[in-house]
Structure formats: C-alpha cells, structure tokens
C-alpha cells in the first residue's frame, strides 16, 4: 500500500461515558483520603522528582479519577517516596500510600 504520510491520531478527549473507574475505586477503597484532593498542586510544586521529570501527583490523581490510567503507567514509579508532598498537602492526604497503591496495581507489585 502506498504510504501517503497520513495517520490517525488517538482521540485526546477524556470520555467519561466509558467506565474506566476500576483503578480509582481500588484506590478509594484502600486510601479513602484520595477522594478529598482539591487539585491545589502543592504536592506537585514541592516534588523533587517533578523538578526533573513530568511526574505530577496532582495530575496523576486527576487522571486516575477520570479513568485515564494508561498515561499513568510509565510515570507512577518515578516517585522516590520522599514524602515531602505529604507534609505539604493542606488536606492531609496520605500521598505516599496513594503512590504505593497506584504502583501496586499498575505494576503488579514491582517498585523500581
């Protein structure tokens, strides 16, 4: 087939009509405080890893909530679990536990 150079992009839309809430439901069950995130971004601004990579806990939690779990898989294990975000979080979320839970389910226990 002749390659005309055209390609089809994947839709960038978050489609909430597709139920992809399994991971978020697991997270809420194991760490209920995850529900009370107000997306303030304090965690992301204090994050050491975030200074050098695109690891952003605020965004990770949001995308998990929206069911966009695919994009989380390659970045979730970048967290070094230093816990600075947990000190900074104004809502007192157990952020390290949240990262560990997401890691557990996305990477089946492998924390690299």
């Amino acid at each position: 087939m002749i390659n005309f150079g055209y390609k089809r992009n994947e839709s960038a839309t978050l489609d909430l009509d597709v139920d992809n809430s399994e991971l978020y439901k697991k997270l809420l069950k194991e760490e209920p405080s995850a529900a009370t995130c107000i997306s303030c971004g304090t965690c992301a601004s204090t994050c050491s890893t975030g200074q050098f990579t695109d690891f952003n806990l605020r965004k990770i939690m949001l995308l998990c909530k929206r069911g966009d779990t695919q994009s989380l898989e390659p970045i979730i294990n970048r967290c070094m679990l230093c816990g600075k975000c947990q000190f900074a979080c104004p809502k007192g979320l157990n952020t390290r536990h949240i990262v560990l839970i997401l890691n557990k389910h996305l990477h089946a226990g492998k924390i690299s």
Binding site: L16, S39, D68
Partner: protein, 337 residues
C-alpha cells in the same frame, strides 16, 4: 406615628417589617404576588445546614406577628415626593402617604433560555436549580420519562460571570447551592453519578468548605473544573456535554440523564422601574447603587429612601437578614431624628 412602605415581601422585607413594626411604626409591606416569602418560598432546604426553607420562613412570618399591613397583588404605579413625605399609588388605585420607603425588591433569577447553547426549554432533560428545588419539595426527582437519573450534572455560573449575557458579577450563592443539591441527590439516589462543572468553587462562607469536603469524602461527587461549552441531546433524550477538564488540560465528553443549570441572580425588573420614579441609580451590574459601599450600604442617594437585601447585589440568606436588620435600625434612627 411614622409610616414606612417596604417594597417587596421577600425575607428582607419581612424581617425589616417585623423589626420596624415592633418599634411602633406603621408598616405597609407591598407585595406584587399573592403570597409573601419571595424566592425562599420556592426552596426546599437551605445550605449549609440543610434546614427546611419553610421553617425559616415561618419563623420570620411568626416574628412579624401580623403587625404590618401586607398589601398583596400590589405593584407601585406611581411614586413621588410630596412635601416631606412620599406618595405611593398602588395597583387598584390604593393611595399611601409614608415617611420612608425601604426598597427590598430582591433579585430576578436568570432566565436560562437566554443561554440557548445549554438547551433549557429545548431539551427535555435540562432543568434549572429552581426546578430541582421544586422536585425536591414534591419528593419527585426524576427525568422527563419518569425514571430516576443514573447520571446527573450541575453547571455552575449559568448567567453569572458571563459578559455575553451582560452579567460580569458572581451570584455568590450558586456554588454552595450546587454542592448542597449534589449531596441531596446522592442522599436520595446513592448510586447516581453526580458531576459538578465549575469555574472556581467559591466556598466563601462559614461551613461551606465542610459541605465541599463532605461532597467529596462521603458522596464522591465528581468536580470538574471547566465551563460547559455546549449541551446536545442524543436519541435517548440524554444530554451530551462537552467541556474542557482544565486541570487535566484535555477536552472531556460526558453524557447525563439530567442536567441542572445553576441560574444566578440579576437585578430585578421591579427595581428598574422604581429607579426613575424615585431617582435611584443602578450600578454597572444592574443592582442598586448605594451611597457608600462600606459605610452607607443601606442608604440611597434620595433622602428617605433606604435599601435592604439583594436589591443591592447577591447575598446569602443570613446576609440578607442581617442587612434587613441594619436597614431597619437605620430607618428607625432616621424617623426619630
């Protein structure tokens, strides 16, 4: 005996009337509708305590204790200064001569039809926050087909913070109302998925942040930051929403069974007609312009004409009542001097 005409028998008018009549003045409470209570009479429960609106309203009416003369179905036809007093002619040619006029005309709810892209009056499953309160009152929160909604979304800031419809102002109470109604829906239908589409959540007053926290932690309400661009209808008469999840930086699509538009407050038409008659001025937002924003918020620029309640801008119920009491005390001082 000094006399006062209070124009508008919403909660501000009722509260001011009961204070002023208690102080021994003759009070005429003028109401264009056949009932008193204004917008609060349309409401089921109130944020943040979920107290029934009817109980609050009945308490206010009980305080009034029939001391004021309530004139129902009455609108101000003519109004003007006559010596040191005001002459008011009402519908039905009733004539009043009073020493003070207290304007408590309140607000008009934004007509959601004006936001045509949201489909109110076009799609059968698009309702307003006022419609939802009526449904709560009748214990019948259902879609047009009679089924309970499995998915429901609230759109904040409908007719507020929207220069396209001529309203730059924030209506103040809709955020708290949306969160309250979201929790009530979850209370009623725990399995219903609820979404709140907001621009900012303005949880400014006491206990509001607690409501927001409870909406998240107890009811798992989904908060999406993004203004609805457009609503459509699918063949099952569900409402299809398109917005941007501005926190994720991605477009978002969502189909719901029922869409609730949080309609805001606008300056009321009755007040606008009073402006010319009494020499009052509207501010840039349409609400009445006060003598001073900080120190003379209940004073107009016309001697003997005072303001209370939401005619001078959006207010919560406690704020409205406090404003009415302040106005009553100032009117009393004015009459005594």
């Amino acid at each position: 005996m000094k006399s006062i005409a209070i124009i508008g028998a919403g909660i501000a008018g009722i509260e001011a009337a009961s204070r002023l009549s208690k102080q021994g003045h003759k009070v005429y409470l003028i109401e264009k509708n056949p009932e008193i209570g204004g917008h609060v009479a349309q409401w089921d429960r109130l944020f943040p305590s979920q107290e029934e609106a009817e109980i609050v309203l009945n308490d206010l009416i009980k305080n009034l204790n029939n001391r004021a003369e309530v004139l129902f179905n009455s609108e101000v036809q003519h109004c003007g200064k006559k010596d040191r007093q005001f002459e008011i002619i009402l519908t039905g040619n009733k004539n009043l001569l009073v020493d003070v006029i207290l304007v408590t005309t309140g607000f008009d709810t934004f007509r959601a039809q004006r936001k045509e892209e949201y489909g109110y009056g076009i799609y059968e499953n698009v309702i307003t926050s006022t419609d939802l309160e009526q449904m709560f009152k009748k214990h019948n929160v259902v879609c047009k087909n009679g089924n309970p909604p499995k998915r429901l979304a609230f759109v904040h800031c409908v007719g507020s913070r929207d220069e396209k419809v001529g309203n730059r102002h924030c209506s103040k109470v809709c955020c708290a109302t949306a969160v309250k109604q979201a929790c009530e829906i979850k209370e009623l239908y725990p399995d219903c998925e609820v979404f709140n589409l907001y621009m900012d959540l303005r949880m400014f007053d006491r206990h509001f942040e607690d409501m927001y926290h409870e909406a998240q932690s107890k009811y798992y309400v989904n908060f999406i930051r993004g203004r609805l661009s457009e609503a459509g209808e699918n063949k099952d008469h569900q409402v299809v929403l398109k917005t941007e999840d501005t926190l994720a930086g991605k477009p978002l699509k969502l189909t719901v069974d029922l869409l609730v538009l949080m309609t805001g407050m606008e300056a009321c038409d009755t007040q606008k007609t009073l402006n010319t008659k009494l020499g009052l001025r509207s501010d840039t937002d349409g609400f009445l312009s006060t003598k001073d924003v900080f120190t003379q918020n209940n004073f107009s620029n016309t001697d003997g004409v005072f303001f209370a309640g939401t005619c001078t801008g959006p207010k919560t119920i406690p704020e409205t009542l406090a404003d009415a009491r302040a106005a009553a005390s100032l009117v009393n001082a004015y009459l005594m001097s």
